[in-house]
């Protein structure tokens, strides 16, 4: 796991609390340029998908982890219910 991935994970844990699940995987051979982020939180409840993503982008930007730092990021932003359904599947 890379430093950038850890930072992203921590920033999300703080800002989307209470978080059921959060994970940030570095898919870029450790250089932090390509990340896969998954967050399960009810902060996303009743929020349209695009607004969920804008919220994540905003929080990462404010933490200095915007797209000038991270080349590519895949974001899965689920409510707790959605996350549990996927686990059950």
């Amino acid at each position: 796991m890379s430093e950038v991935a850890d930072q992203v994970k921590q920033v999300c844990e703080t800002n989307f609390a209470p978080v059921e699940f959060v994970e940030c995987i570095d898919e870029s051979d450790g250089c932090g340029a390509k990340l896969r982020l998954t967050i399960a939180s009810d902060v996303f409840d009743k929020v349209p998908l695009i607004q969920r993503h804008r919220k994540v982008q905003k929080i990462l930007n404010e933490a200095g982890l915007g797209m000038d730092q991270i080349h590519a990021i895949t974001i899965k932003a689920w409510t707790i219910e959605q996350y549990r359904k996927k686990q059950a599947a």
Partner: protein
């Protein structure tokens, strides 16, 4: 009025494709091919880029800004969106932002969204790869695109 020579059209309706072909196909229609020959239009400045993008998204029902083009995407995320649109069987227009740096930066400003690909439907920014695949899974995308079809 500036002409828009940037666009490539990719049509992937299975119904129109002969049974000899396997799977969804994108193609450039023959009679417009010369329009899309490498004729780089110079985009002078930011304002011009914003105007062009506004025209693109309002004159083309389904408009995709991507890296590469539908027959040869140059990025995994762009390739994924192309595939989703082809699976939906809808006509769409696209611009290869790798050929137009001013458009590449311009669309990010236009939609206030930091990445490529960017899909617009009926003039509205819908999202990038994650959102499009998410909407595909939930059925929202079919609903959105079919709604647009009915408006024709």
């Amino acid at each position: 009025m500036m002409s828009l020579n940037l666009l490539s059209r990719a049509a992937a309706r299975s119904a129109r494709i002969s049974t000899a072909r396997v799977g969804p196909v994108s193609f450039f229609s023959d009679d417009s091919h010369s329009d899309f020959a490498p004729k780089r239009k110079v985009v002078a400045d930011d304002d011009e880029a914003q105007k062009m993008i506004h025209e693109h998204v309002n004159n083309n029902r389904i408009m995709l800004y991507m890296k590469g083009n539908p027959s040869m995407p140059m990025c995994g995320f762009s390739a994924t969106v192309v595939k989703v649109l082809q699976d939906q069987g809808v006509d769409f227009s696209s611009v290869n932002v790798l050929d137009y740096p001013a458009i590449r930066e311009g669309v990010k400003k236009y939609s206030d969204w930091p990445t490529i690909p960017q899909l617009y439907v009926d003039g509205e920014f819908i999202g990038g790869c994650d959102i499009i695949t998410g909407m595909q899974e939930s059925g929202e995308l079919t609903e959105l695109l079919q709604e647009e079809e009915k408006k024709e």
